[in-house]
Assembly symmetry: C2
Homo-oligomer: 270 residues x 2
């Protein structure tokens, strides 16, 4: 129900502002040390690492970061590069670009770079990720699922994520792609997890204490299934519609917070 | 919180099966008297009254109805036709086709046909409506709103409905068109109303007692805002994202019921 270590997570729903006030990316640089921020932009998730990497490097430098390195780990060999892994100890922030969450986990999972990122986090660093880079943070992650459907078992497919945060499952581009039904099916599978749906240009900043703050122009949807009374997920077939009752739902814009321990929203204003 | 009269409502989310088992339309004919059912198919909402009317007439006759009349009230003059209104006393069921809910209310509102339909309902008749014909049943109805957006005040536009059911606002094609956010905004405006989102090929059968049963292949989503703690709807501007906390959400497939008085879902199996 909390991040596993002392660092901060910035879970971004994709399509964050990079040309205006840049509230979300600015928050990332501030949390990572401001003028002393040393940032690794990890482009593993994307098929366009150069374009995407350079775009973030320019924004982060413009926002005042001291160091911004684009790091493209494109295969398992590179993921076990000890020299590169050692280099990670200098970073105060790691940024996962969007792309495909299964690229991130299949290339990095269990590697020395994976360990190095977790070390950065454990030592108080900030791990930010957008879109696929957001989904990958949880222990179990969503890798696919039709969102235009009534909730069904077949709606979702899951995989092991990077495990930077426990008891939470993240979905992104949330309102924009109408993904509430697939996140509801996830929560019905195990109401112990809190469903976190992050809209585009919106982020959830998760502190080590389990306190979260919403940043950005849209909203974060929280689905808390702990009070679920009826659920037919264990005895329904793949294409049966799910029954789920008594889910608690919160829609939180900037200025609101959520406590992952008490499962309560609150007015935050950071 | 209940239907105003002694009749039964069948609120259909659109695109109901007309060629297979026809669970929903069969339920309508059964509730309207089975082999003694006398049905008025009201095509006012649609711009294609002939095609739509004949399709329903064929299905209802195939399902065993004794009488099926297609009634196209296309303007206010016809809506005040006293001879036609008198004729309504024979019907045991009225079926509103889909189309545009504002056509229904702008043509029928306050007319003698409007009164005649409500008389049929008050005398124990069944009023069924699909898509626009479902939305129109509530006292205040949704007439438009972008559903691909984060909830905002600007997301929804409302109008006075036919008022066959109180303290409920209905949305249709619900999961298929990803409409939860606009229904959440409706509930935030006044948590006294229960948001009822009906999927395609799914219906909510509402008895005069306030007990409801889900019929069909998909689900009905209930949004109960009575426990809302935070809501910024009164002080947000049109394009600010809404804050809404502690909404209770139920997803109910066939075999489940909901009590509009106690606001509780239950296992129904009719």
């Amino acid at each position: 129900m909390q991040s596993k270590a002392e660092g901060v997570l910035l879970i971004i729903g994709g399509n964050e502002d990079k040309t205006g006030e840049c509230h979300i990316l600015r928050t990332f640089i501030e949390k990572a040390g401001g003028r002393e921020a040393k940032i690794a932009v990890l482009t593993t998730a994307t098929q366009l690492p150069e374009e995407v990497g350079i775009e973030y490097k320019m924004v982060f430098e413009w926002l005042g970061a001291e160091v911004v390195d684009i790091i493209h780990v494109a295969d398992r060999t590179r993921a076990f590069d000890q020299h590169l892994a050692d280099h990670f100890s200098m970073y105060t922030g790691v940024f996962f670009t969007g792309g495909d969450q299964l690229r991130l986990t299949s290339i990095l999972g269990g590697s020395t770079i994976d360990q190095a990122i977790k070390q950065t986090f454990a030592h108080g660093g900030v791990i930010a990720g957008t879109s696929a880079g957001a989904s990958v943070m949880s222990h179990t992650m969503i890798v696919g699922g039709d969102s235009s459907e009534t909730p069904k078992k077949s709606t979702i497919s899951m995989a092991e994520g990077m495990g930077l945060i426990d008891k939470v499952v993240i979905d992104q581009h949330f309102a924009q792609r109408g993904r509430i039904n697939r996140l509801l099916a996830v929560v019905a599978q195990n109401p112990n997890v809190i469903g976190v749906g992050v809209d585009e240009d919106t982020a959830l900043l998760v502190e080590a204490s389990g306190k979260c703050h919403v940043v950005g122009s849209q909203t974060v949807t929280i689905l808390d299934g702990r009070q679920i009374v009826h659920s037919n997920i264990s005895d329904s077939s793949l294409f049966d519609p799910l029954a789920i009752t008594n889910v608690t739902l919160h829609i939180l814009p900037d200025g609101f917070g959520y406590d992952l321990h008490t499962r309560r929203p609150y007015v935050s204003h950071k």
